[in-house]
Amino acid sequence: MSAAMPRATATAAAPRDPLLEEITGPTPGQMLRRRIFGHQGFLIGTITLLVLLAIALVAPLIAPHDPYAQDLMSRMERPVFMGGDWDHVLGTDHLGRDYLSRLIYGARVSLLIGGVAALISGLIGTAMGVAAGYFGGRVDMVVTFLINVRLAMPVTLVALAVVAVLGGSLEVVIGVLGLLLWDRFAVVMRASTLQVRGREYVAAARAIGCSTPRILLTEILPNILNALIVVVTLEMAHAILLEAALSFLGLGVQPPTPSWGLMVSEGKNMMLFEPWLVLIPGAVLFVLVLAINLMGDGLRDVTAPENRS
């Protein structure tokens, strides 16, 4: 064995030569951390999302009123910055319920819908995409066909039809969105898997004798995780917006659930007269989706192997 590598011999006394660093790069974790803290959009998005998540989690603690308590005699009171009183900081809705409390509880609904719908569609789409990408051949043909069928189906219409039949409820909306939004997962995961499958470490794992599930779980999945997370955020935002659109059309989550989409929808009839009814939930919805998108975009940049900066 030749002295192929100089064994590290630097003693504490000798000043370390700055050029003598065999293992140069930072660990992937360090790299990620460095990129994360260098990415404004990602930070802003993530922090906003975390704040909203925290609000959702502790909603009962911070909501000033019962979000379901109706008072028909004090309907549509204006928020405090428009001359309302401090009892209802953001005013009341068309049934006299406290707007701020409903907004706070609404964060739960939107996040739940976005999260669970993305989870369901993610599971379906990832399973299909990974299977198609890894096994190829007939499996790929079937999955590609299913993706085509799904893409050819007008998603909004089908969602509307299903909700119209089953009646809107949190479960139904989440289920419908979850079952409809898997296409992007399948497409992206298929492409990513195809790419990763060709890497030599997968061939090496097979040559070592790893079983297929082991290869899928330990070699493929960790390496398509980045793409997966990005799609999760995109689909989460997509699901939240679709729920809002369904609610606008009257076929989303049903009252008295305080969904932001529903609040926009309920306030929209008065938007020419009391614009804040729509502006406030619309703005939080916008902020939430914006935050998720910023985070998703950021993740894409942060985790991209060939990071631009």
Binding site: Q70, L72, H94, V165, G167, Q254, N269, L272
Partner: protein
Amino acid sequence: MNRYLLGTAVAALTLSAGGAFADKSDDTLRVAFTKELESVDSYYNSAREGVVLQRAIWDGLIYRDPVTNEYVGNLATSWEWIDDTTLELKLREGVSFHNGEPFNADDVVYTVNFVADEANGAVTQNNVNWMESAEKIDDYTVRIHTKAPYPAAIEYLSGPVSMYPNEYYAEVGPTGMGTAPIGTGPYKVVSVDPGKHFVLEANTEYHDGPKGQPEIGRIDIRTIPEVNTQLAELFNGTLDLIWQVPSDQAERIEQMGDFVVSNESTMRVGYLAMDAAGRSGADNPFTDLKVRQAVNHALDRETLVDALLKGKSTPIHTACFPSQFGCAQDVTEYEYDPEKAKALLAEAGYPDGFKTEFYAYRDREFAEAIASYLNAVGIETDFKMLQYSALRDLNMKGEVPISFQTWGSFSVNDASAMVSQFFKHGELDDARDDEVLADLDIADSSTDPAVRKEHYALALQRIADQAYWAPMFSYNTNYVFTDEVSYAPTADEVLRFHEMSWK
């Protein structure tokens, strides 16, 4: 409150909206419908918009004055019951259809026989299936045979039963009539863009009937589904009249003072239907009278009316609209008393309340408020908003424990148009009360008004006592139009173009 962007915008534009954009100048009244009308043929739609067009395009044999509720002749000049099931009518002479076809007995016979035949599939069967047939006596005399004694016949003949030209209708059928309608009415149809756009023109040769001569030359009706868009167009001056405006908006427009806002009651009644017969399961809480009474006590009808419906709505305690013939008002009333409601629930074995599906198909806002009242006494609602047809489907299968329903009686001013629709053991009857059925059978078929009144009262009392329903309120509707339009809306939710004029 003009400090805010949109508020300012609305206020600023309405200041100038008054004259500049109104269409008095070209004698065209621009109206918006919210809903796409399925077919203009009045026997093939069940929509309010259809009734509006029907009153403009066609005439009935008889006419009920919307204000005095008196029956006067329209296409018929006189009528008379020959026996319990035969009505003889003398027809007006010299009337012709918009296409020039003269109106005579043949038209009546053809129209009645066509629509009364179930096979022709008129969608408003209820309006026509009481007629057996029509018979021509001479050119201007006809007899209409009813299947059974039918005292409400005059009301129907003055309402939904319009007269069609026999030759034209035979040729084009309902589809042709739907796209190029021909009638005798005050307005002729210029164009029909199905569901989207209807243009009417005053019938200059309109006969001298009780409706009077049309004054506005042209009516231009567009379908605009979004209320905000309708308002935008109204403020913009590109619409002259909108109707069915929700009360909150109507209130604000009225405050602005630039438009005429007119509120009128309608015959539509909102109520909760409960599954007393246990069709959705024998263990259904609503089979218990105390639960149903609790529901009735849980609702604050006054506040609902004052805060949400507003206008000329009133709290309702009967299973019919007060102005309807036979709609007795002295029945058991349930005052708003949540404590009593809770007590009743406890008595019924639900001290902690229970959970139930709660269905609705329209007026989500009202339904939500109602659900909230139920929640307050411990009835936890799983809110389900369905399309009408889907809910109706469930209803007919008996799978609905409690639902928020409404019924407009087709503006027929007779209790049979409401209570008899739901309590005669049909598929929609969740009460299945034989006593009620017996009374309604007598009331519906008797020709003696006193007998009818008595038995409707008995039925309604029983319904109220048993709390089969929780009747809540009557609806109202708001008409908003520019101050150049002169119009006095009536209480039956029908726009009558022939009664409108420019100021």
